[in-house]
């Protein structure tokens, strides 16, 4: 993501799990991407734990899920529907991307940078919440919602 061209300063902070230590002074967080490795149940468990520490306002468009490893079906320990359900519960967009493949990684990075610019308010006329409702209108609603 840092390789992408961006008008303003882009900073990425990587963390294994949340909550982040509160002692450090840090700039405002505009987007949280939860990366789940479908090959590892541990990764899913970790993300589920971390989700509890996130403030509810982030789920209005400033959070997203990224599932990696779906390409190698034979290595998956987490069923695809589990992560789909999780993203649906938190009303956040879900992206599937095999981070191990260079081309997919680059495309995903572009997409995330674009999303980040909107979430940070740098794109006039579109807010994070707008983007969220745009992404969601192309999904069918789950039977529970009807």
């Amino acid at each position: 993501m840092l390789k992408e061209d961006c008008a303003s300063e882009l900073r990425v902070h990587l963390a294994r799990s949340l909550p982040l230590p509160s002692s450090v002074d840090r700039p405002r967080i505009d987007l949280i991407v939860f990366v789940v490795n479908l090959h590892s149940k541990y990764s899913l468990r970790n993300v589920e734990e971390s989700l509890h520490h996130v403030d509810a306002t982030f789920f209005l468009g400033k959070a997203a899920f990224l599932a990696t490893g779906a390409g190698r079906e034979s290595h998956c320990s987490v069923h695809r529907n589990t992560i789909v359900k999780l993203a649906h519960t938190y009303r956040s967009p879900l992206f599937f991307c095999d981070l191990e493949i260079e081309g997919f990684r680059a495309t995903m990075a572009q997409r995330l940078v674009r999303m980040l610019q909107i979430c940070a308010g740098h794109v006039p006329g579109v807010s994070a919440l707008n983007l969220l409702s745009l992404l969601r209108s192309s999904e069918t609603l789950a039977p529970e919602d009807l």
């Binding site: 541990y42 998956c76 069923h79 359900k85 192309s138 999904e139 069918t140």
Partner: protein, 346 residues
């Protein structure tokens, strides 16, 4: 498939019901498309499955009949429906396949030193190897070597065995037109070259396609739970799990063996609804094993990949290899494998 694709199914449904009047012959195809679209929409994984029981069809049969299928390692393949396959032509097929194998071997594609070309192929049906009456009959293909001496009639060695079956394959059977026979699960034991030759012949003769069936860690943990849940009078083998840890330069393997009665006791404490296995129970069962291991060794097994599961009922490896040890639950095991094969075909 991306969940964002699904809304197109709703407006098209209206159009397809009008088309029904014009294209009567396309009914199976449309059913197939609808089945595929249904799968693409937000349908959760089946949260419950029945614990394999002895099916009524099997109780009539002598357990000795299928004894030759046990204790052998089978490699799994999924197979698309066969076009114009007929159970009455089995003798014809054995003749054709023998000729094909002899021709292939003479071409030098599969030359083994010291092997004579006197081989015989037999096709036979396996009665009773199915779940419901709708399932097509299972059939067996064997490559036998004819002995050189004419007096020895019993000196026929089985070189290769392969069998095709379909157990509870309703979801596939509904969507397939008349001329096709659905036997989505293929199990092979014997030399890889023979499997390839037989596969090529089937693909050319019946316009089908084989693909090897890998079993991922998610399905292996289901199998572990279902087989531990099976009631056994006597446990022949310990329950064993094998995990592969991805690390460089060489991957590490972790093996975890439990006494089968302990595994059954653990399952019984987790299990709530009689006769069914749910996703939560499977997860809880595996989590108990992971946390026990973590407590002793401080290793998170959930971050590794489950590669092999071995119980007294059967053992399965992620590469698509299975060994069935108990004839009582044969149908149940095949039912689950059929489901995986059908899922792969889709």
């Amino acid at each position: 498939m991306d969940p964002y694709d699904t809304p197109e199914s709703t407006p098209r449904h209206g159009a397809s019901s009008r088309l029904k009047d014009y294209f009567i012959g396309a009914t199976p195809l449309r059913k197939r498309l609808e089945a595929v679209r249904k799968q693409a929409s937000f349908v959760p994984t089946p949260p419950r499955r029945k614990i394999p029981q002895c099916s009524q069809l099997q109780e009539d049969n002598d357990p000795q009949k299928f004894a030759f299928l046990l204790h052998k390692q089978w490699t799994l393949y999924s197979l698309t429906p066969l076009y114009k396959f007929s159970y009455t032509n089995l003798k014809e097929y054995s003749r054709l396949l023998s000729a094909f194998i002899a021709a292939e071997k003479q071409k030098g594609l599969a030359v083994e030193v010291g092997e004579d070309f006197n081989i015989k192929v037999t096709f036979s049906t396996l009665l009773g190897m199915k779940g419901t009456q709708r399932d097509p009959e299972a059939f067996l293909v064997q490559i036998l070597s004819k002995s050189q001496l004419p007096s020895e009639n019993r000196g026929q060695k089985v070189l290769w065995t392969g069998w095709f079956c379909c157990v509870f394959g309703d979801s596939l059977l509904e969507t397939v037109p008349e001329d096709f026979t659905c036997v989505p699960l293929f199990l092979a034991n014997g030399a890889e070259t023979n499997t390839a030759i037989v596969g090529t012949w089937f693909q050319e003769t019946f316009d089908c396609h084989f693909s090897s069936l890998a079993i991922n860690a998610f399905n292996l943990s289901w199998m572990a739970a279902m087989w531990t849940a099976c009631k056994m009078d006597q446990y022949m083998a310990t329950t064993e799990f094998l995990w592969s840890v991805p690390c460089s330069p060489q991957s590490l393997d972790i093996s975890y063996a439990i006494h089968p009665e302990d595994a059954k006791a653990l399952w019984d404490s987790v299990h709530k609804t009689p006769g069914e296995v749910t996703q939560e129970e499977v997860d809880l069962f595996m989590d108990c094993l992971y946390s026990h291991f973590h407590r002793h060794f401080k290793i998170h097994l959930s971050a590794t990949r489950l590669v092999r599961v071995s119980t007294s009922v059967a053992s399965a490896h992620t590469d698509g290899k299975i060994k069935i040890l108990c004839h009582k639950y044969l149908i149940g095991i095949l039912a689950y494998l059929t489901e995986l094969a059908i899922f792969q075909i889709d």
